[in-house]
């Protein structure tokens, strides 16, 4: 018996198969994870992601604190509601977590992963001691992700009083709607929003979503969607001993202004000077087999690597993966699956955009 979100009973009512996810009872699917994946790519679906951790950061030195704590620079959040994706590094340059931070009227809101909750909060509180800042976790909030080409349309229809505000939302931007907070962010590669609302209100809103024809989507489809979109999963594609530079996250590091110091900066600079040993690439397998985490990747004449995340791509009809491979890797490599070698193609993620394949085979 694990933790339950406020939607636990709703999930059961929708026919969910519940599984343990880092100590939480969460829906893996509601019948068919492949159907759910397709619903998000073609129409609209809703995920309960209330198991994730919301932390509000406020106080006089909130900005300075976050500029030190995070590898990306919150100074970029020049307007209210603007958001960015960032790594939180340890002094060795390893990734403690990846997260999104939104600028709000009284400070900043961070959404961090579920599995890393305790570790992240402990680290953040420890670092906060040197700053005039307060951290408040928000377990009173539920989080829904409503994603798909019809998502914005659907939300506008369900919240007609907020139509203008929703229409005005740019990508990676959020806004307060009374006690609710809505942002144009997501983990699927589709258009859509993430909505934070009080636990006491989420069941009623979920039911309205169901009644309006929005499909409930489980964690199984969440993983196939994010992998198609080339998005990392913490714990699989990177962890505390992996640098963001070796996890396809170099673009999230704000090197300018050079005067900004942040935790892990020196370690990353040292790594750049020495030269990167590994990189994270996309792999595509056209044989009738599924690529899976930890399978060996063999790069002839160069060395070996490992798959970090692998799955079947319902949109493409074959298997895709992210793999950590030697920096010099390119072209064709082989993956070892159950003692057989399969040739795979190395591609730059994402694999799918706007419901279509984006790479060249």
């Amino acid at each position: 018996m694990g933790n339950k979100t406020a939607l636990y009973d709703q999930h059961l009512a929708c026919g969910a198969k519940m599984v343990d996810f880092s100590g939480w009872d969460m829906p893996i699917h509601y019948g068919s994870q492949i159907q759910e994946h397709k619903s998000v790519r073609e129409n609209v679906g809703v995920f309960d992601v209330s198991h994730m951790t919301v932390v509000d950061v406020s106080g006089q030195e909130a900005k300075t604190y976050l500029q030190y704590l995070l590898a990306n620079d919150v100074d970029k959040l020049t307007t209210l509601g603007k958001a960015l994706y960032t790594a939180m590094l340890n002094p060795q340059g390893g990734v403690i977590d990846d997260l999104i931070v939104y600028r709000r009227i009284d400070g900043y809101r961070l959404v961090v992963n579920c599995a890393t909750r305790e570790k992240d909060l402990q680290w953040m509180r420890q670092q906060a001691q040197a700053f005039s800042v307060s951290l408040i976790e928000r377990p009173d909030l539920a989080i829904l992700a409503i994603q798909g080409p019809q998502a914005i349309q659907k939300i506008k229809m369900l919240c007609p009083q907020h139509q203008a505000a929703i229409e005005a939302l740019k990508l990676f931007q959020g806004t307060d709607l009374g006690e609710w907070f809505i942002a144009r962010t997501g983990y699927t590669g589709e258009d859509g929003v993430e909505l934070m609302l009080p636990n006491v209100e989420v069941s009623a809103f979920w039911q309205r979503l169901m009644e309006s024809g929005v499909a409930p989507i489980g964690l199984g489809a969440r993983d196939t969607l994010r992998l198609e979109a080339g998005m990392n999963l913490y714990g699989a594609d990177m962890n505390e001993s992996i640098s963001p530079l070796e996890a396809n996250m170099a673009w999230t590091i704000a090197w300018e202004p050079q005067s900004r110091d942040f935790i892990g900066k020196q370690a990353l600079l040292d790594e750049k000077t020495k030269g990167l040993k590994y990189k994270l690439v996309g792999l595509v397998l056209e044989a009738k087999c599924v690529l899976r985490a930890h399978q060996r990747v063999l790069v002839s004449g160069v060395g070996e690597g490992e798959i970090t995340s692998g799955t079947f791509s319902p949109t493409l009809g074959y298997s895709i993966a992210l793999a950590r491979v030697p920096f010099a890797t390119q072209g064709h490599v082989e993956v070892e699956i159950r003692d057989k070698l399969f040739p795979v193609k190395v591609v730059q993620p994402p694999f799918v955009r706007n419901g279509k394949k984006v790479f060249d085979l």
Partner: protein
């Protein structure tokens, strides 16, 4: 709730068997398809392949995991369900009929005595859950 059709026999490894004369049809149980989730690939045996009881006959693969299919009896494969190449989800949707995997012409019908009845298979699953 999984289904356990009484006219079928089962392997502990979750294959089912329908006997018609000296030909048996083989698939995987409702419990197995439910545990695997949506199937994405099915590797079928070759028509004409000679198998012994317990030989690996093929593979079913879902997003979650790959699982070997074992032959319940010895004999020659006389047919395979080609529909599963394009529609592996037939196994999930209708594991005991449209989701059949292969047919084998038995060499030794006494091998059927080694298989589990539907209720014995169901009891085995109940035990595994404890």
């Amino acid at each position: 709730m999984s289904e356990f059709p009484v006219e079928l026999k089962f392997l502990p490894s979750h294959e089912w068997v329908r006997v018609e004369g000296d030909v048996v049809t083989v698939g995987i149980s409702d419990h197995a398809q439910e545990a695997l989730g949506d199937l994405v690939f099915v590797q079928l045996p070759d028509v004409g392949a000679e198998l012994h009881a317990s030989d690996e006959a093929g593979v079913v693969e879902s997003v979650k995991a790959a699982s070997d299919i074992y032959s319940p009896v010895s004999g020659v494969v006389i047919a395979v369900n080609d529909d599963l190449e394009e529609a592996p989800e037939l196994v999930n949707r209708d594991p005991y009929h449209d989701g059949w995997i292969f047919k084998i012409k038995m060499e030794d019908p006494t091998e059927l005595d080694d298989l589990l009845s539907a209720s014995a298979y169901q009891a085995q699953l109940a035990e595994e859950e404890d």
